[in-house]
């Protein structure tokens, strides 16, 4: 049932190359889930996300020190080994300095016909940032027009956006079933869907998703009475880990907050803006609608924090400072999105998770600094968590014992709060 998706993930490059040949499509590689793929797609290209693999990233040794995460080093390693040579271009949006270094090296060492570093401001969720990114996207659109030798009308953009939104909605549709007990699909299968969607023509993918939705009810349900866990943290593209958790140890990954999982498909493009200016709509989607990556900030987040409806104290475990009362009138607009941590928590609660596995890429700063806060949020509602530092070559021995012991430890949570009221978002 999932063989189609598994095949894409397993032989991603063969698949992409076949698209390139058979359909004579341009393949544009990208490094970060913030890249506005819709524009590339509208131009008639197929964006393919680059992932790590399990080889030791030896070729990157000369370009990135060993204290940059293996995720990025592995990607660079593959690039230097010539695995991406067939691609017609490489695009990334500014997320973290590590990826930036990888990209700089790509520009210098590999000769892609076209490379582009989109500066996505570190602060999203302000008029300035949106305005700036809108301009940046306009330029990117013109780039694409030059590269593909055709101009991109607003309608092209709308069509592309519709395909993408449909894809998001279809996957989300399937993911709804993960709230059930037992879930309709395993975590590995879920990741197969999101990962494969980043590696192929979305239109095709949508077709297959529709058939999957038809077939799913027919297959016999997964084993009941198994612990439900959530994954938070760095980009996860190593299905081996999920297999370890689900097959060997025995627990379902029922949801996640990673940019290779739900974070990629959550948040559709606001329709009201679509009619006026599709680019504006995209800006809104990537900056506001989708769940943010830890590298992205709402500069006025503190306004929300200081009067956090969710915690009586600052979201720090250790002798935290009490909440403040703010003056009636503030010169600053309140943030449009809710706090990352509350989002993650809400997701977990809605999926009735009993434990959280924080998979942190070794040397991943953004998630490293967030670990304390996100686990703290879960702690508050009595959901335990365990940190697992991973790299692209997971040393199974230790990891296994840790996760297994954690699974043996967790038990059905009796939620201490009525989540809906507290966290106050629909997911």
């Amino acid at each position: 049932m999932f063989s189609y998706f598994k095949d894409i993930v397993d032989n991603r490059h063969d698949h992409a190359q076949s698209l390139q040949k058979k359909k004579s499509k341009k393949i544009i590689g990208y490094l970060c889930s913030y890249v506005p793929e819709e524009i590339i797609y509208a131009a008639g290209g197929i964006p393919i996300r680059l992932f790590s693999n399990e080889e030791s990233p030896s070729l990157s040794e000369n370009f990135m020190q060993n204290y940059y995460c293996t995720f990025s080093r592995s990607i660079l390693h593959q690039g230097l080994a010539g695995e991406f040579d067939y691609m017609d271009g490489l695009v990334t949006a500014y997320s973290c300095v590590t990826m930036r270094l990888a990209f700089d090296n790509f520009q210098r060492e590999c000769n892609f016909p076209y490379t582009r570093f989109l500066y996505l401001p570190g602060i999203i969720d302000t008029p300035d940032a949106k305005a700036f990114y809108h301009k940046e996207l306009r330029r990117f659109k013109r780039d694409m027009e030059d590269l593909f030798g055709r101009n991109i009308t607003d309608n092209d953009l709308r069509d592309a956006i519709n395909v993408y939104d449909e894809n998001r909605e279809l996957i989300l549709e399937i993911f709804k079933g993960r709230k059930e007990s037992p879930p309709n699909i395993s975590g590995e299968e879920a990741y197969l869907l999101t990962l494969s969607s980043m590696l192929t023509d979305k239109a095709e993918h949508n077709k297959m998703l529709k058939t999957l939705i038809k077939d799913l009810p027919k297959r016999k349900p997964l084993k009941a009475g198994v612990n439900r866990v959530m994954i938070v943290g760095s980009p996860l593209d190593n299905l081996k880990l999920l297999r370890l958790i689900e097959k060997d140890i025995g627990a379902y990954v029922v949801t996640d907050d990673t940019c290779t999982g739900t974070r990629y498909i959550m948040g559709t493009t606001p329709t009201d803006l679509m009619d006026k200016d599709p680019l504006k709509a995209l800006v809104q989607r990537y900056m506001i609608s989708r769940p943010p990556c830890p590298t992205k900030h709402s500069p006025n987040r503190w306004i929300e924090c200081m009067t956090c409806p969710f915690r009586t104290v600052s979201c720090f475990a250790l002798n935290p400072s009490p909440k403040r009362t703010l003056p009636k009138s503030l010169p600053f607009p309140a943030p449009e999105r809710i706090c990352r941590f509350r989002y993650a928590l809400q997701l977990g609660i809605n999926h009735k998770v009993e434990g959280v596995i924080a998979l942190i890429q070794k040397f991943c700063d953004p998630h490293g600094y967030d670990y304390h806060h996100v686990t703290q949020a879960f702690q508050d509602v009595g959901i335990p968590s365990v940190p697992i530092e991973i790299d692209n070559m997971v040393s199974i021995g230790q990891v296994r014992t840790r996760i297994e012991a954690f699974i043996e430890m967790i038990q059905p949570v009796d939620y201490l709060i009525e989540p809906e009221i507290k966290a106050g978002v629909e997911i």
Binding site: A129, H297, C305, M306, Y369, H372
Partner: protein, 446 residues
């Protein structure tokens, strides 16, 4: 094991600078000010070293630079603080400055006695991601207002393809950020920005940057009149009090003394044998290791990292990927001009770093200018911004200039990440290698 004992009469003796007295005086005064502020009502603003401090100085506040704070914690070898932070889930892999400061915050102790609780925190996007996250953690801990200063770098291709358009967008974006920052500070402090003070600070800051550049140029003379240790001590001042007249005074005195030295023929270390280039932060606890370089007759004469605090660096290294007008400094007369000059400065700075092609060009230029025989890169564990592209730079130096390089794995302040024994041995090997190559080059040329 290649040891060195200071006891032995030293053929590479390094005479101390006279202006130390003044420097110390200024630094102590600063410490005092903070100590006082911890209890007084005066608001403490904690911000990153990359924040344009011209924005903060016009206000009557105490400014604490996070990196500076972390570095002094490290200077006191107080790793207990870092351990505290690690206990609380801030992984050992994170920046050691950050772990030091977070630890000091959690334990509410530090080299100033208690930890200075900020009234507001300002983080900066640009050099590295960790910086913002670290300051976000501070703000969340204290539940205080938090401002993120964003900036849009100009990528190489931008100016090529889009010309003025892209550049203007970036600078305007930054200018707006500066405006917002001032709104923020006015709200936090309840003070109104003093325009005159603002203009004045801008000018002082610019003057100090130029002085710093001069000092670095003198440093690069052959033979070099001062050592990198001297400069690190100056840097401490530059980071903590960049836009003050005190700093101007110290720098001027320092430069004067260096000129004096050059006339008298006094050198940073006696009988310098090889000239090296240093990049990235010093390990504040491994100044002894720097001494070891000296004992081998090696002295440092150039450093892109130190140049970061001047103005030349950011204007040189971005090459022709930005327009001329962006590099020209014009003395600002009013608020708007200040903001604009600031925006120009920040934009160029962030267009220059982190950016591989720019830093590589810069390092090569420096190496040639200062007649460098070898390069030493301090690969600072957990710091991704400053040691960005160290390997690429090393390769470029080797391939294009045939100058050997040595990457020294270490950390700014966490000596647990630094194994002195093996490193000393390697330094010795490296210096030997450089000497041999130099000897041969001289033999060839003669």
């Amino acid at each position: 094991m290649a040891k060195f004992n200071k006891g032995k009469e030293d053929k590479h003796y390094s005479p101390p600078l006279k202006c130390w007295g003044l420097l110390k005086e200024v630094n102590d005064a600063y410490d005092e000010r903070i100590k006082a502020a911890i209890d007084s009502k005066k608001p403490v603003i904690t911000a990153t070293g990359m924040i344009p401090q011209q924005l903060i100085y016009p206000f009557d506040v105490v400014y604490i630079c996070g990196e500076w704070y972390g570095s002094i914690c490290g200077f006191h070898r107080d790793v207990g603080l870092a351990e505290t932070a690690e206990k609380c889930g801030f992984f050992h892999e994170l920046c050691s400055y950050a772990r030091m400061m977070l630890g000091s915050m959690i334990e509410d102790r530090g080299f100033l006695g208690r930890y200075p609780k900020p009234a507001a925190v300002i983080g900066t996007e640009g050099l590295c991601v960790g910086q913002v996250k670290w300051f976000e953690a501070l703000a969340r801990y204290h539940n205080v207002p938090f401002f993120v200063m964003d900036s849009a770098p100009i990528m190489a291709h931008d100016y090529k393809n889009w010309g003025e358009e892209a550049v203007r967008d970036s600078v305007e974006f930054v200018a707006r950020q500066c405006g917002n920052a001032i709104d923020f500070l006015e709200w936090v402090t309840g003070q109104k920005l003093d325009e005159e003070k603002f203009v004045n600070t801008m000018k002082i800051m610019h003057r100090n940057e130029l002085l710093w550049d001069d000092l670095l140029d003198l440093w690069g003379k052959n033979p070099s009149p001062i050592t990198i240790r001297n400069l690190f001590t100056f840097e401490n001042l530059i980071i903590s009090l960049p836009a003050t007249e005190d700093t101007t005074r110290v720098l001027e005195e320092g430069i004067g003394e260096v000129h004096e030295r050059i006339d008298k023929g006094i050198t940073g270390i006696e009988n310098e044998e090889v000239r090296l280039l240093w990049n990235a932060q010093p390990g504040w606890f491994l100044l002894d290791t720097m001494e070891y370089f000296r004992s081998q007759g090696a002295t440092f004469v150039a450093s892109p990292y130190l140049a970061l605090w001047g103005s030349k660096y950011r204007f040189d290294s971005v090459g022709d990927s930005i327009p001329q007008w962006l590099r020209e400094w014009k003395d600002p007369e009013n608020f708007d001009e200040c903001i604009w000059e600031l925006a120009k400065g920040i934009t160029t700075q962030n267009s220059a770093r982190p950016r591989l092609d720019a830093t590589i060009e810069e390092i090569k230029r420096m190496a040639i200018k200062a007649e460098v025989d070898g390069g030493v890169w301090h690969a600072v564990r957990g710091c991704k911004g400053v040691s960005y592209g160290a390997l690429g730079e090393r390769e470029a130096m080797r391939n294009d200039l045939a100058i050997p390089g040595f990457i020294m794995e270490g950390s700014q302040v966490d000596y647990r990440d630094f194994s002195e024994g093996p490193i000393l041995r390697q330094i010795r090997v490296f210096v030997e290698q450089v000497k041999r190559i130099k000897k041969r080059r001289i033999a060839k040329s003669s």
